[in-house]
Amino acid sequence: MSSTPSTPIRIGVGAGFAGDRLDPAIELAEHAALDALIFECLAERTIALAHLARMEGTTAGFDPLLTERVRTTLPAARENRTVLITNAGAADPIAAAAAVKDLVEQLGHGDGVVAAVTGDDVLDRLDLRHSPIFGSEDTLWDIKDRLVSANAYLGAGGILEALDVEPAIIITGRTSDAALFLAPIMHRFGWNPADLDLVAAGTLVGHLLECAGQLTGGYFADGRRKVVPGLARLGFPFAQVAPDGTSLITKLADTGGRIDRMTCLEQMLYEVDNPHAYLTPDVVLDMSNVTLMETQQPDQVQISGAVGRAAPDTLKVTVGVRDGFIGEAEISYAGQGCLARAQMAADIVAERWTDVHNLAGIEITRHIIGLNSCRPWYQPTDYQPPEVRLRLSVLSVHREPAVLLAREVEALYTNGPAGGGGVTSRVRATLGVVSTIIARADVAHKITVLR
C-alpha cells in the first residue's frame, strides 16, 4: 500500500453559482498549482428548472455555461494536473459528460477521461404516499400531478469512486456542495469515512469555499466599514488542506479581494441554521470549537477545530413542483408628487383588477422601488423621494392573469397619472421547491466513464 502524501492538497473554487464570472477560474487554473478546481453551479432550484427545460425541450438538461468553463480552464488544468469537478451536470450529467468529452477532444486532450456521477434522480424511487413534505402536514402524494423532479443530495462517495479512474473532469448532478470539495481531499489522503472529525474538517473547507467570491470579500464589501480592494478583479479562494484536516484559506496575491477572519467568519456561518449541527450527507458538522486564525501573511486564515458526528441514515431530497406563473411590471414617476402618482397608478390597476377583470381572488403585490420594495413592512412616513418606480406583481396558477397585469401597467402610459415612464414587464413560469427525505439504502450512485 502506498504511503499517505504528507504535503497539503491544493483545492480551489472556480464558480460559486451557475452564472458566475469566468476569469477568476482561469487565473486559479493557471497560477494556483491546484490539485482540484471545483465549479459549484447548482442552486437548490436550478436542478428542477433544468428538468423542466429538458422536459419541454427548450434546452439541454445541464448548465449551458459548462462547456465555456471547461474550454477556458482545461488547457491549464491538464498542464498542472488539476482535476475539474462540477455539479453542472444538473438534470443530465451523462449528456453533459458527452458534450464535455467532445470538447476535450476538440481541445487536443483526447486522453482526458470524463466521468459522470449519477444516482441522485430518485423520482421513480420515492414512495410518494410516505414521503412527507417538510414544513407541512402533506405528503408528495398530495401534489403528485405537479411533480417535476426529485433529486437526493448525494455525499462524497460517488466522486471518490470516480477519482479512482484519474479523470480530467468529473460531472455530477445533485450532491451536497461541500462533497464536491471533500471528495478530492479524502481521496488524496485516504481518509476513512468513519473518521468523522476529518470528514467534518474537509466538509468545512468545502462549505467555506463553495460560494467562491463570497469568501474573498464579495457580498461583504460596503465601501465604508468593510473596505475590500480590487472588487472588479475579485479573486476566488483556494485552500491548502493538510493530512490532519487543518487548512489554510487564501487567494492569489495579484487578484482583488481580501481574506481575513471577518470574511471567513461571515461565510462559515452563511446559511447555517444550527452551527452546532450542520447536516450534510457525509457528516454532521459541529462548528462550536472552530478557530479562524490570521497568519503573518496577508490574505491567509488558518482553520481548525471542526468536529464531526455521524450523518443521519436518510438523505435530503429536493423536489421540483409546478407552481404557476409570476407576472411583474414596473413604471417610473419623478419630481413633485411622484410618490402620490405612483400610488394613484397602483390604485387604478387594483380597481380595474377587481371591477373590470373580476380577479379579486388573485392578489396584486404592490411595492415602490426607492421606498419599500425590499422590506415592505418598514418605511419612512415623511419621505419625499425625487423619483420612484412602481412595481406590481402577481403569482397565479394560470398564465393569463400574469400577462394581463403586464398589459394593465403598460396601459398606464396613456390612461394613467401624468408622467409615467419606462414600463417593463416579465411573465415567467415558476417552479416551487419542497424537500423530503429518502432512506440511504434506496439510493445508489453510478459512475459512467468516457475515455
Binding site: R45, G135, Y219, F220, R225, K226, M262, L265, E266, Q267, M268, L269, Y270, E271, V272, D273, N274, P275, H276, M287, S288, N289, V290, T291, L292, D323, I326, G327, E328, T365, H367, I369, S373, C374, R375, P376, W377, Y378, R391, S393, V394, L395, T430, L431, G432, V433, S435
Partner: protein, 133 residues
C-alpha cells in the same frame, strides 16, 4: 437622551435564505461587544423589527467561540425564492435591514463603539433576553 446608533456602527452582517426563512449572521467588530450584543438582540426586538407576528418565529444562537450570533427569522420572505414575486425574494437585503436596528442601551455616540463599558440600561435588555424562548 440622544437617539441610539444603529447596529451598523457596532457590527457586520450577512444574510442567507432557506425556503421561507431568513438566516442572518451578526458579528460585532470588537469582540468585547459580543456579550452585550447577544443580550440586546432578543427575539422580541427582532420580531418587531422584521414584522413577524411572534418572537417564537425568531431564534438567536450565540457562538461565543468565534463571537457571532446566528439569527433565524422564520416565514419572513413572502414565500422565498421560488414563490415570492417581490423585488428581493432571497432576502439578500435583510442584512442591511438588521443593521438599521437601533437598540436603547447600546452606545449613543459612534465614537464610543468598541468600548467594553456595560451600561445600566442593559440590564433590562438582559432581563428580556432571559424571558425569551
Amino acid at each position: 437622551m440622544k437617539n441610539p446608533v444603529p447596529l451598523y456602527e457596532l457590527a457586520h452582517c450577512r444574510a442567507g435564505d432557506k425556503g421561507n426563512d431568513s438566516l442572518l449572521v451578526l458579528v460585532p467588530y470588537a469582540p468585547s461587544d459580543f456579550e452585550r450584543l447577544r443580550h440586546a438582540v432578543t427575539p422580541q426586538i427582532l420580531a418587531r423589527h422584521f414584522a413577524v407576528p411572534t418572537p417564537e418565529r425568531v431564534s438567536v444562537t450565540p457562538l461565543p467561540s468565534v463571537g457571532a450570533l446566528v439569527i433565524v427569522i422564520r416565514g419572513v420572505l413572502a414565500g422565498g425564492v421560488t414563490r415570492a414575486s417581490g423585488a428581493d425574494p432571497h432576502g439578500k437585503t435583510l442584512s442591511s435591514h438588521l443593521l438599521d436596528l437601533r437598540i436603547a442601551g447600546l452606545p449613543t455616540d459612534p465614537a464610543e463603539t468598541g468600548l467594553v463599558a456595560v451600561r445600566p440600561s442593559e440590564s433590562s435588555a438582559r432581563q428580556r433576553a432571559r424571558e425569551s424562548p
